[in-house]
Amino acid sequence: MSEIKKFMYLNRRAPYGTIYAWESLEVVLIGAAFEQDVSLAFVDDGVYQIMKGQDTAEVGMKNFSPTYSALGDYEVTKLYVEKESLEERGLTIDDLMDLKWEDEDEDWAEKDSIILVSREELSQAMSEQDVVFSF
């Protein structure tokens, strides 16, 4: 395998109504097989993708929000959430799912996957990536 690259998947859209959020998640899971340094970022309406208590009964789409909890199993452990995007929507981190990953090297200790960042910190993190996929 060649050297490890930094991949960021940038999620900007609400989870349902379009296929972008689900497509992004599938690409992340498939891409995770390549053992690169993967992170996700949730900005703008993308923050709705990882909200608690999603119910899709009325919209006729599969509720795939439980799948975000599997990301840790796929060794995707960095989920950046932009603070300003939450604030602009009247949300706080408590409105988001409690996403964790388990550190195999520390006897499966549970650690938070969500990293709350400011717009400035996120743009800094983005500038350090080799590849940014925007969904």
Partner: protein, 110 residues
């Protein structure tokens, strides 16, 4: 395509996976295994039940390396390795076991 289980027909896709996960009954796994000349033992069922629980919780079929790790954590290290899983499901624990369990083809299976 379709398979017949106890006189009832179940729709499958072109790779033999069940189209409707909610259709699944244990007989589906039995019939699929028989077509592969495989007899399902308790060890097989342990993995199949594990996969169904995994899908129930996360709404995806795990990639094989994720399955291996999760099995190791839940059922013990002696089972959480590809040698053990391949001994049960020689066509690949991801694809074959997921198919028997009524799950879609694993996400991240390339």
């Amino acid at each position: 395509m379709a398979i017949d289980v106890d006189g009832k027909s179940y729709e499958t896709d072109e790779e033999g996976y069940l189209v409707n996960i909610s259709d699944w009954v244990p007989g589906v796994a039995e019939v699929m295994a028989k077509e592969d000349d495989l007899e399902l033992t308790d060890d097989h069922w342990e993995i199949l039940n594990f996969l169904r629980e995994y899908y129930e919780e996360y709404q995806i079929a795990p990639a094989v390396r994720v399955l291996t790790k999760a099995v190791g954590k839940k059922l013990g290290k002696e089972k959480g390795n590809s040698k053990y899983l391949y001994s049960l499901f020689p066509y690949g624990p991801g694809k074959q076991a997921c198919r028997y369990a009524g799950l879609p083809k694993p996400t991240g299976c390339i």
